[in-house]
């Protein structure tokens, strides 16, 4: 079965979705990602969906769920590179993905993650490793 790779970049995880998401793949990604976050102690997750062209309500909800789960595991999620057609579809489906942060591209997303981690550190002091 095909699998979506999860790459570790410093204290962040990078997930690039490059194939058509079907439901089983989405569930597998959810499992993998939560496990990897807790294993690597990641502070942020960056999901790149710039090549994703078709979404349905299930995938939309999954993105939302992943963001919520990561937050529980103390990692910020940023979804980057959503295509206009995908954005329109999600809005028409009534999924505005509240609580999911978004950015135009991987660069902007990384910047967002670094900024939020920095802000967290200033607020609560750095985590003891």
């Amino acid at each position: 079965m095909e699998k979506i790779p999860i790459l570790k970049m410093g204290e962040f995880l990078l997930v690039t979705i490059q194939v058509d998401m079907h439901d089983r793949l989405a569930m597998a990604l959810q499992d993998d990602l939560t496990r990897t976050i807790s294993q690597t102690d990641a502070r942020g997750v960056l999901i790149d969906i710039s090549t994703l062209e078709i979404v349905d309500s299930f995938i939309g909800r999954m993105l939302s769920n992943i963001a919520a789960m990561s937050r529980v595991l103390d990692a910020e999620t940023v979804v980057v590179g959503m295509q206009p057609a995908v954005a329109i579809t999600l809005v028409e489906l009534g999924l505005s993905l509240p609580g999911v942060r978004t950015a135009l591209n991987v660069d902007a997303g990384m910047e967002l993650l670094r900024a939020s981690v920095r802000a967290n550190k200033e607020l609560y002091g750095s985590r003891v490793d």
């Binding site: 295509q83 206009p84 995908v86 954005a87 999600l90 135009l104 997303g109």
Partner: protein
């Protein structure tokens, strides 16, 4: 009896067209030259060719089926009429001028039938009535096609207007503006939404300003559409600011109970622009005069 009657009648109209087609054609052209001849729009020779072809088609049609314009026999006539009607509406003929093409055929044909049925008043009346109905049906058909082709023009213009009316303007590196003029309906919002989102991707812009100064009224539907656009832009990672909210519109929005709390709104495009610059961390400093 009626079978024989109709047989004779149908023969007679076809017969008229068969025997005297040249005479009918000449009289018809004369008839048209009176009121509706537009020599500025169509050449004499073209008109003549058109008319004689039309008579030819009519002859064929009436030979197989006497007077039912909807029958398959008249398909050729119908096609030609719709071609004529369409080309006339494009050339700038008036509706009445277009319809008279058919109606001016009445007098020549009536004259011929009169000649043929001299002395038999009943048969003449029946034949004339039949012909009258046929020509009226043709006239109405011509008008229908005329109007339809006009409507097509209007629709095409509307579409072009739709394309023209949604320019996305780049204000700064990373800042887009979308000035909306006129009423927003579903079709237009779709175009607005798509062109804005497309432009966001192309220019890599982080902030988009939707300026609604030119939108006369905002109702729940329009507000819904605006919110959808803002949400879609946010999903792609761009911030949206709505500017140009006039006092009346602000009142309407509150009275309608529309929730715009999650959206940044500004009264002017300038205010929105300065917020956008702030978000990108750009600031301007006025150069003070030296010395």
């Amino acid at each position: 009896m009626s079978e024989i009657q109709s047989n004779r009648n149908h023969k007679s109209l076809a017969g008229v067209l068969n025997q005297n087609s040249e005479k009918v054609l000449n009289e018809w052209l004369k008839e048209m030259s009176g009121s509706t001849r537009r020599s500025d729009l169509i050449r004499e020779s073209d008109l003549r060719a058109e008319c004689s072809r039309f008579l030819q088609l009519m002859k064929q049609a009436t030979e197989s089926d006497s007077a039912n314009f909807q029958s398959p026999a008249f398909e050729g006539v119908r096609d030609m009429l719709s071609d004529i009607s369409r080309s006339r509406s494009q050339k700038g003929f008036k509706p009445s001028e277009t319809a008279t093409f058919v109606f001016s055929l009445k007098r020549p044909l009536f004259n011929e039938i009169q000649n043929q049925y001299r002395g038999d008043a009943d048969a003449m009346a029946a034949e004339i009535w039949k012909l009258n109905e046929l020509l009226d049906a043709m006239g109405l058909f011509t008008m229908e096609v005329y109007l339809k082709s006009r409507e097509e023009v209007v629709r095409r213009q509307q579409e072009e207007l739709l394309e023209l009316s949604t320019p996305v303007v780049k204000l700064w590196d990373g800042i887009l503006a979308l000035p909306i003029i006129g009423t927003l309906d579903s079709a237009r919002t779709q175009v607005v939404m798509e062109s804005l989102l497309q432009a966001i991707v192309q220019t890599n812009s982080r902030v988009a300003i939707i300026d609604i100064t030119g939108v006369p009224t905002v109702d729940t539907v329009v507000a819904q559409h605006l919110l959808k656009t803002v949400t879609a832009a946010r999903l792609m990672g761009a911030d949206c600011i709505i500017s140009g909210v006039r006092p009346q519109i602000a009142q309407t929005i509150v009275h309608l109970g529309i929730n715009l709390l999650d959206v940044t709104t500004k009264s002017t495009l300038a205010a929105a622009f300065s917020v956008a610059l702030q978000r990108l961390g750009i600031s301007f400093v006025r150069e003070t005069a030296k010395g």
